[in-house]
């Protein structure tokens, strides 16, 4: 481990393409450091997994545990109950994204790092939208009647495959066009920490979130509530 004394050594030992894939290409700069350590993989993955498990638990999980049986027999609309739970997850993710945003911004100011507030805001927003999108995938899958395990598994698979397309596809000329279908690419492909708000990607993410929420809400009324 002696050779790994500096971050620069670590990144220079990798081919430029691999360093890009791991998000550590510019790890010796402030932007590169934040990207490599936080925004390239860790935060989107953690927020995404939180989104997926929380949504799966509040929808399919509660339903198959029988906890929705009585609730949905009260004078409430089934679709309202489901949609509200999705919105609660989106809000909780926003709180986490906001806390990370505030913490990073504070460190940036206090450590006088060469990172713009707009960049931190942009990457926080896209990371949050990326997580909400995967909450939306879980929501739609659960709304069709999948069990909790299937719901979480399917949405987590979308999350991981999306990451792989975003990280690995650009390494090969043949696969590179595939990166464009990855939500990770929409959120992080333009390097928002350095380059600011990627409005096209933000719009695409927001539209996908809305479509997934709408589809889930529309189909949940058309099926049977599962029994415990």
């Amino acid at each position: 481990m002696e050779e790994s004394g500096s971050l620069e050594d670590f990144s220079s030992g990798l081919s430029p393409e691999l360093a890009d894939a791991f998000g550590v290409a510019e790890i010796n700069t402030a932007v590169g450091y934040l990207k490599g350590n936080l925004y390239a993989v860790l935060l989107p993955l953690l927020l995404g997994l939180m989104a997926v498990t929380a949504t799966g638990t509040l929808t399919a999980g509660d339903e198959e545990a029988g906890r929705l049986e009585l609730l949905l027999a009260l004078p409430v609309e089934r679709r309202s109950v489901y949609l509200l739970r999705f919105l609660v997850v989106a809000f909780a993710l926003a709180v986490v994204a906001f806390l990370v945003w505030a913490a990073v911004l504070m460190s940036v100011v206090s450590l006088d790092m060469d990172v713009t507030a707009a960049g931190v805001s942009a990457v926080s927003l896209t990371t949050w939208l990326l997580a909400v999108l995967h909450a939306g995938v879980a929501y739609a899958v659960a709304a069709f009647g999948a069990r909790r395990g299937v719901t979480v598994g399917a949405a987590a698979a979308v999350l991981v495959v999306g990451y792989l397309l975003h990280a690995i596809a650009p390494l090969s000329d043949a696969l590179e066009p595939l990166a464009a279908v990855s939500p990770w690419e929409w959120a992080l492909g333009s390097d928002p920490l350095a380059n600011g708000f990627p409005w096209g990607g933000i719009a695409l993410l927001a539209v996908c979130c809305a479509v997934l929420a709408a589809v889930g809400t529309a189909v949940v009324d058309r099926r049977d509530v599962k029994t415990a």
């Binding site: 545990a65 029988g66 906890r67 049986e69 009585l70 609730l71 949905l72 027999a73 009260l74 004078p75 409430v76 609309e77 089934r78 009324d221 058309r222 099926r223 049977d224 509530v225 029994t227 415990a228």
Partner: protein
């Protein structure tokens, strides 16, 4: 009188399995109606369709004149106790009831507190530590507390001790006196026969008997177990009696399935020296399904296995 519940040709399939098969059911307003059948007969499946939790494969369901799937508001007038009651373990009894009350909007707080007291519940207790019976009581308070026009109660007395069963039966009687409607499901006839004016008996998704409780009870078979000290009466003699549905013997022990007044049977038995005579409370299997087993057999084996397993569990 208008129908509180009406099902017309309601069928519910799960894949290849038909849980409810062409059900026609009418529960008049203001009646207490017993919905009987062994576990797996399709009672809960029917009830979940009444509550809009499940969609019939075909047929028409109306509850208080409304389609329960299209109109969530109709559930404001229905109190529901599910057969599988799952409560949120993180709440106390009172918090649970308050969360339901918030979603209902129409709760009589005085009635709620009276019900808590009658069922001897501690409202401050956490749901987590409650026994099955106590959870059931929370569910019952929740169903009754909004004075609904219709109560749909799936196996309400499951897990209640006899004292609490009495409290429950008193409540049902009070509701009935106020002209409200109660649907009670059970797999035990004696649980509902005291309060239900009429019953329907479901088996393998079909109604096999229905009508006034008293009339059905008279027609239901009752088993008598007689153990003789020495001479056993000839089985042909017992079989020849007008009420005997089935006679079986095993050594000194004779079992007679009997319908109607036991008078003639007792006269015959008393001519022999009896060691013991027992007549256990008939379960549904004995009471209603007897004929379906001996006669030409139109029921499938699957249904019978379920019924048998249920009888063993009683």
């Amino acid at each position: 009188m208008a129908a509180a519940i009406s099902c017309e040709g309601v069928t519910k399939r799960f894949g290849d399995f038909t849980a409810v098969d062409g059900l026609d059911l009418t529960v008049p307003e203001g009646s207490v109606f017993g919905y009987l059948g062994p576990n797996g007969a399709g009672k809960s499946t029917t009830i979940r369709m009444l509550m809009g939790l499940s969609r019939p494969t075909s047929g028409r369901v109306r509850v208080l004149g409304q389609d329960p799937l299209a109109d969530a508001a109709v559930r404001r007038r229905i109190g529901y106790l599910p057969g599988e009651l799952r409560l949120d373990d993180r709440l106390t009894v009172l918090q649970t009831l308050e969360s339901w009350a918030r979603l209902r909007g129409t709760v009589d707080l005085a009635l709620r507190d009276e019900l808590i007291e009658r069922f001897a519940l501690d409202p401050k207790k956490a749901v987590r530590g409650l026994s099955t019976g106590n959870r059931r009581k929370v569910g019952l308070v929740g169903a009754f507390m909004s004075r609904p026009d219709l109560l749909v109660l799936d196996e309400p007395t499951n897990g209640l001790d006899p004292l609490m069963q009495q409290v429950f039966l008193d409540l049902v009687a009070e509701v009935a006196r106020e002209g409200r409607t109660v649907l009670l499901s059970s797999h035990i006839l004696s649980e509902v026969e005291r309060v239900a004016g009429s019953v329907a008996v479901l088996r393998a998704g079909r109604i096999v008997a229905s009508g006034e409780t008293a009339r059905l009870r008279r027609g239901a078979a009752q088993k008598f177990h007689a153990v003789f000290t020495d001479e056993v009466p000839p089985l042909t003699e017992l079989e020849g009696l007008p009420g005997a549905a089935e006679v079986t013997a095993e050594g000194q022990r004779v079992t007679v399935a009997w319908t109607g007044s036991p008078d003639a049977l007792l006269r015959t038995l008393s001519r022999y020296r009896l060691d013991s005579l027992t007549a256990p409370e008939p379960d549904l299997e004995d009471a209603f399904f007897h004929h379906y087993r001996t006669d030409g057999d139109r029921t499938d084996t699957g249904g019978r296995v379920e019924a048998g397993a249920d009888a063993a569990g009683i």
